[in-house]
Amino acid sequence: MMRYLAALAVLVGFAIMPEVIGEYYVEIMILFMINLILASSFRLITTCGDWSLSHVVFMGVGAYATALLAKFLGWPFWGTVLLGGMASAVIGLAVVFPLLRTKGFGFFIGSFALGEFVRLIWVKFHFPFGGPRGMIGIPSIELSDIDFYEAIPYYYLVLLFTIACLAILYRIDLSRTGKVLKAIYADEDLSRCIGINVARYRAMAFSVSAFFAGIAGVLLAHRLGAIDPKNFDVNTMVYLVIWVVVGGVGSFWGPLIGVAVMMLVGEAARPLAEWRPLLFGGILIVFLTLLPGGLDSLMSKVREMLDKRTADGTEKI
């Protein structure tokens, strides 16, 4: 009951937020929600033990796909968003195929290199990707007379997508499929011997998470109106890693908390200007060396302590 109330409160909060905060913060919130989709989809692959360093590239695949479809073919938003996600999922399958023979660190590095391969295609081909300068003039969205060029309508559109994507990812996490992925991470040999097709599940996790990263890319491209290969390079990837590491991947909520906390820190640290990456680098090191489970593990520790307290202090009803 408490849980539903909390969820309702968060939803209401998000719904009335644009009325309360200024336009600048509405733009920040749009980015924030897109990043939530990105980080949450990233967690899906990490649950089976595969940390991918190519995840932002799949956001790029969605962004480029939508840019091409909207700009050159004049596709409507519903078409670009679906095809953007699908394109990411399909390219994700192609990328993960050679990686299935690797594990852990090899997977990490291999995904990094193959992600670079995809990204370099955009750098290499001026037609149609615009080369290193990328693509500009991506049309904004128009749906039944609402102009989504304005920040507030776009905010609600992104909110809708964020709720849908997170809900689906949450369902997957709790489902048998989500459990199978965690089982693969915990004991691959045992998983195999009880009939789990490990390669198939890893490929599926990769592809599905690429799909959602693609959706995030679609939403990003329509908002920015211009994209270039640098948006999706290893630097961006390291920021995604920082969010996820700070939040922790132990639970569904970890990466979401990570994005929220680190975007707040980023805003607060604006006066540091060019010194900011140093702060982020430092935070990354501190978390990995001192709190490898992230904020999420800290919270579950606190919760455990509280539980013990109540268990000791009160009788069971």
Partner: protein
């Protein structure tokens, strides 16, 4: 491709392979001991180039002395990284690797803030002119890389096989537990291997300083290649990474000459993907990644 271009490309490939080898050997060495995977290795390379920029271009030190001093300076960075990043994350390769991405950020910011982010720092060429090899012109500046690599890799081989401390390092790479039972101080060895690893990256960067664009972000381009080399060679295999370095040197040079640099990088990545599918242990590696 005409004959002079061909010879030119061959010599370029060998020299590029030498640089890759110097960088990748350090990476493989550190990975071999306690699985330290250094994401900041490219920034160590960058730091080496800045040592030459500061000591030689700004400070007026002779070029060879500046290159040599890159070794201890960057080795020190390696030791610090080992102490504050790899040691606390020991046993978790990914954590160490991601944490060194933080180190990379920190080094980029510091170098950028001290010496400027914008335009590249120019390092004047200390050795003008070019040697004529079978009708091709190879600048002296590039040519000195070859003997430097030979000396460094040879020195490393001598150290690992003939010096007691080096043998201890190899013992550690083979079996940490057995090594520590023999009384080898593991922390000392991991620090040492990061020092050597850093020193190698530093010298490679120093040698490339007059050739490459010296910027705080120059590590990006080398780190992708270095990791491809190490994966192709077989993680933790020094011999494998040397072999793979020259293969990549040839792929990059020839594809660049025939087509362009972007395609060359893509070819390198594609080559790695093929190796991963066909032989996941890498060319000379034993451990499957």
């Amino acid at each position: 491709m005409d004959w002079p271009t061909f010879i030119q490309s061959i010599s370029n490939a060998v020299i590029l392979g030498s640089i890759y080898a110097t960088v990748a050997v350090g990476l493989a060495l550190a990975f071999g001991v306690m699985q330290m995977a250094n994401f900041a290795h490219g920034e160590f390379f960058m730091a080496g180039a800045y040592v030459v920029y500061v000591f030689y271009a700004l400070g007026g030190m002779p070029f060879p002395a500046a290159v040599i001093s890159a070794f201890p300076v960057v080795a020190a960075l390696g030791v610090v990284t080992e102490r504050f990043v790899f040691r606390p994350t020991r046993g978790n390769v990914l954590a160490g690797f991601m944490a060194t991405a933080g180190v990379a950020f920190i080094l980029q910011v510091i170098v950028g803030q001290v010496w400027g982010v914008g335009l590249m720092r120019s390092v004047p060429t200390p050795y003008m002119g070019a040697a004529s090899i079978l009708g091709a012109q190879v600048s002296w500046q590039r040519l000195i890389i070859l003997p430097s690599t030979l000396v460094m890799v040879g020195g490393l081989w001598f150290f690992l096989h003939r010096v007691k401390l080096g043998k201890a390092l190899r013992a550690c790479a083979q079996d940490v537990e057995a090594a520590s039972l023999q009384g080898i101080n593991i922390n000392k060895i991991t620090a040492l291997s990061m020092a050597i690893s850093g020193g190698f990256a530093g010298v490679a960067g120093a040698l490339m300083a007059p050739i490459n664009a010296v910027t705080p972000y120059m590590g990006h381009s080398i780190i992708v290649t270095a990791f491809i080399v190490v994966i192709v060679g077989g993680m933790a295999s020094i011999e494998g990474s040397i072999l793979a370095a020259f293969i990549l040197g040839f792929i990059h040079t020839f594809v660049t000459t025939l087509f362009d640099a972007v395609l060359a990088t893509m070819a390198g990545v594609a080559f790695m993907a093929i190796i991963l599918v066909v032989k996941p242990t890498g060319l000379l590696g034993r451990v499957r990644m």
